[in-house]
Assembly symmetry: C2
Homo-oligomer: 640 residues x 2
């Protein structure tokens, strides 16, 4: 049993906020202060055109703060603070998510591609203009016919040695670029991903800079632009479709860091394998997924703050003993809707912070990037993006329902949160595909001949030995190891609250699921590959999920270890229990089926979740206030 | 093992449609034909004012068809076909849900209240005008401060014997009428629920007719009207807020079927108990919940038809053996998203049809209504509304994700389906409250002194003996009894596909959960009542859910029994297996904890679900086409 809970007044939300703010606390505080001085314009009720115009105005205000420079090199006026850059996207996501997404398109995707796939000539020409919003751009990767399977997209960029130009072309309707942010209205230049062809030979997907509009905003000759029209949400972002009809761009338009074409048409690349080059290029874009995971977290925090405050003031039905009307948060069913979601939001927050720190270390390091670390980062980014965005979708849905009819009114914010974040589960990588990527990464143990993104590719590696230990040496892991050494004392139901037991349970589940998948897939041959993989697909997805879940728990445990405030620390210990036990409860069928939980203990888990919900109920307000969502983003009339 | 599956071409969707169309097939076919002749105007991209105007126009077109008359008495020009009336709402829900909801407000809630709570003088004055849309009205029950706990709403209607008038008054902000359909723009007259006070004594909640606008559409003196503004969805419905400042209406404005005030202020009622009168009045409004459940089903059918058609044509990644690009519906993970949802949609459809038939029988019967049957109907309506609307919310979310970015575009329909239906889980009764109502009904076995809606009220009855058998003698039940008599032959894993075993599993779960809840709650005293109930709340909700789930299974079984087409019948047998086994899979932790499933069989259930998904995959298109959603409601550009 962990130490007892503090009383509700004993915990200062500020102590929790300090821990949550973490390494980039300074940036978070600055943004909160600055936001408090700005008039925030809630976008609800705006028509699409007005909303788009408002978001563009806000984008200009944002550019003026200088924060969008954080992710770029000092040499061009950037801040060279990758972690700070991601953190500032995350903070932006407390407000209108259209602004976050449009900023992400401009500086993360478009600017990031120019920076990371381009070379000096592109940097010198474009980076300052991109940072200053003198040049708005698009990231034109996805096509109507190919989204997850980017390696097989069909736009072509054919080199013409006679004119020293690339001819960019959309061969058919399914190859049009689709859902492209900044395309319908504001973008001038696009990073276009296309199959590069030179000397009659295809060299795989590469990126080129293609102008799409002139200075007056008219589409340039050969480029056709369509508006994707109204969407479920994010209507402040101008998503559009691009068609290229033999559009010619100079040879130097190729973003040539990982592959280049000489004037005579000779292709050259520092990476020999087409596959590996493709995935190296994609890997540089990991920031986008990490930003989405962080933004999803912000949206969940905002929704939970609103729903918890409402649940404290909303009263319904009278207590027969006292005759008082009951706050809905006093009902167990309502606590079960909100408190495990709060616990999980904390857990994911700490995992996100670790992920951002890893990204920062890897992308700030000079010299060659350790490929294994890079792949590990990509895998964790994929996994955390999937878990975070699904959590956010579920949580906002629950928050809406928990606020009844009031939660359905636009003025009470939850509708736009739900609608805006809904696409997070499928953009920047479809979650189902991403979890398979995680599992594949674990199975292949970051082999050198890292191959294409197809889920089937997993199978190619399965003749290889599966390495039993999948535990990386993260910093969080050291804390867990120390706890594991102490070990659980007894084996009665109080073991449920023993952190060492909890960690072992998550670890054991992961190892069991993964080795099971490895055994199943090892039987693959070229003929049975698809069916074998497909039959095991739910098993593969489970492997990805339980791996990430273990990392999330370790991050939570390590964060508690860092907490300097004793009362806050005791509260977090209980919150972590709730996170762990509600996760075990949700998956308790697996634990029972695999002899990990007796039926008695399985029931004890559900009882423990109920107990924790009731114990933590007096702390609910403290826990959400500690998220420190700026108050101006919480001005729902139902909370007045 | 049930009989083998037919081949994909062997099943005619029309044979399934015939079964699905059921007792009110004629009305369904008429509406399909009529809809095919009408130009349907997709509302996406419309501003709120234009959308509201469009929906009002469509409401007038609908009135001209005469279908809204179906639910009203012949004496006033109605069709006196309650089942047909509900069915026509259900069909309406294939199109713009704003129209369905506005029609529901006008003819279901407003017209229904006048019909069922009023007497001849109200019928003669209003029913024709309501049917013809000469008079638009509101159903003003919910207040800002009281939604679920309607018995404690705070608007007052105080009788003034001097002028023979009622004075309707909103005492404070929390007592304003909120979310009221037709209030913000179109309504002229409102059925206002208020605490009736006469001779200084409160007589509980009653309904009165209060004019809110004059013929020019201006609010009448004393009535303040506000617009609720933009909502997550259903923006074609003009929801508003009503405040009454000592508004006087004549004594005859009281809808006086269940309670009346004589000129001198004497109160009289055919029902002595205030509580019982209140619930009798509420009970007449059961049609609304049943219509919502049916409409939710239609929205789920539309979403599944769209997502399944997309999943058949959308291809992603290549098969290594054949080199062909794989349809996403060939992936197990994708099948698992859609096929169990299709199976459950069938199951709920058949349960809905039985519910509509019961309603029709009960409300069409002449003479006194059997109170026990009426309570049973209310309980089933509450339970099915909860399960159906949650199913729809989950299913549309899944369908959206299954269509990726395309599913996020308004033109592809899913966004409005999601946004419009989202409120279904909390309006016409919050689902969490409704499931408690179901459990309470089972525990109290429809006692005569049926009391208020408070979940706590359950406790008052627990000194009473819990009746073991909760199985009602429904018509579906006879089919199940026959199957149970045959009984399962073996006890290996093939038993999973044995219908008798499946029915027993659902029945046994229900009886075990219910008797457990009864035991827990029987310990209640006046002092511990709230805490005892609250600690058991998740158990109570489970009891409600598993009860309804058993009724749903029985309805599915009975429907298969009615199926005349042998190939369609064999397909439905497998679909029913998928419904049952995916339900057991979702709840398999409970079955394991209570010694109902060994770990081996529990794993076999998951394997069986996978197998059924793959077997049913070739039939997916047939299964959704059989829903016979009119093609004009499926015109998503991504399906072109």
């Amino acid at each position: 049993m962990t130490s007892s809970l503090p009383t509700a007044t004993e915990v200062d939300p500020a102590a929790l906020t300090e821990l949550l703010d973490g390494r980039w606390a300074k940036i978070r505080r600055e943004i909160r202060e600055q936001v408090a001085d700005t008039k925030f314009r809630e976008p609800y009720g705006l028509d699409v055109e007005t909303h788009r115009a408002q978001v563009l105005d806000q984008l200009r205000e944002l550019a003026a703060t200088g924060r969008p420079r954080l992710g770029f090199p000092r040499e061009y006026g950037g801040g060279e603070d990758i972690g700070g850059s991601i953190t500032s996207f995350e903070m932006l996501a407390f407000g209108d998510l259209s602004l976050m997404v449009k900023a992400g398109v401009q500086w993360g995707l478009f600017g990031g591609a120019v920076q990371l796939l381009g070379t000096r000539r592109h940097h010198e020409e474009y980076l300052r203009r991109i940072m200053e919003l003198d040049l708005l751009g698009c990231f034109a990767m996805t096509e109507t016919g190919h989204g997850s399977d980017v390696q097989n997209l069909r736009t072509t960029a054919t080199y013409d040695a006679g004119t020293r130009e690339f001819v960019v072309h959309t061969p058919d309707e399914s190859a049009r670029k689709d859902y492209i942010g900044n395309a319908a209205r504001d973008g001038r230049l696009a990073v276009v991903f296309a199959q590069l062809v030179t000397g009659g030979e295809s060299r795989g997907v590469h990126a080129l800079l293609v102008p799409i509009r002139d200075d007056e905003g008219r589409p340039v000759p050969g480029v056709r632009i369509e508006d994707c029209g109204p969407k479920a949400g994010l209507n402040g972002v101008d998503n559009g479709r691009l068609y290229f009809d033999h559009v010619r761009v100079p040879r130097t338009a190729l973003l040539n860091r990982y592959g280049d074409v000489a004037e005579d048409g000779t292709y050259g690349s520092p990476i020999e394998s087409d596959n590996r080059r493709f995935f190296t290029m994609l890997g540089t874009l990991v920031r986008g997924r990490i930003s989405v995971a962080g933004s999803a977290g912000s949206a969940a925090k905002r929704a939970l703050t609103i729903a918890t405050r409402y649940a404290e003031r909303r009263r319904q039905f009278f207590r027969p003993d006292t005759g008082e009307e009951i706050a809905v948060l006093d009902y167990l069913a309502h606590q079960r809707k909100l408190l495990p979601a709060i616990a999980r939001t904390y857990a994911l927050h700490f995992a996100q912070e670790e992920l951002v720190a890893s990204l920062h270390e890897i992308q700030s390091a000079s010299g060659e990037v350790d490929e294994r670390r890079q792949r590990e980062l990509e895998s964790r980014a994929a996994g955390l993006k999937a878990l975070s965005t699904w959590h956010t979708t579920r949580t906002i849905q629950t928050a809406r329902e928990a606020c009844g009819g009031a939660g359905y009114l636009a003025e009470n914010i939850l509708p736009s949160l739900k609608a805006d974040t809904d696409v997070f589960t499928t953009f920047e990588g479809d979650n189902t595909v991403l979890l398979q990527l995680v599992a594949r990464g674990l199975l292949t143990q970051y082999r050198d001949d890292f191959s294409d993104m197809s889920p089937l590719a997993t199978l190619r590696f399965l003749a290889e030995q599966f390495v039993d230990s999948v535990i990386e040496r993260t910093s969080a892991r050291k804390v867990v190891d120390r706890i594991l050494e102490a070990g659980p004392g007894r084996d009665d139901d109080s073991v449920l609250f023993d952190r060492a037991w909890q960690c072992r349970v998550f670890e054991d589940r992961e190892e069991h699921v993964l080795s099971g998948v490895a055994r199943r897939l090892r039987r693959a041959t070229a003929e049975n590959a698809f069916d074998l993989f497909n039959d095991a697909q739910d098993h593969v997805l489970l492997a990805g999920r339980v791996h990430v879940e273990r990392l999330v728990l370790e991050a939570f445990v390590a964060a508690i270890d860092r907490c300097a405030d004793p009362a806050a620390k005791r509260l977090l210990e209980r919150l972590c229990d709730l996170y762990v036990l509600s996760e075990i409860e949700a998956d308790r069928a697996w634990f029972a089926e695999h002899g990990r939980l007796t039926s008695t203990r399985s029931k004890a888990v559900a009882a423990a979740v109920n107990q924790l919900c009731q114990e933590l109920r007096p702390h609910a307000r403290t826990l959400v206030d500690a998220f420190a969502v700026p108050e101006q983003f919480l001005e729902a009339p139902m909370l007045r």
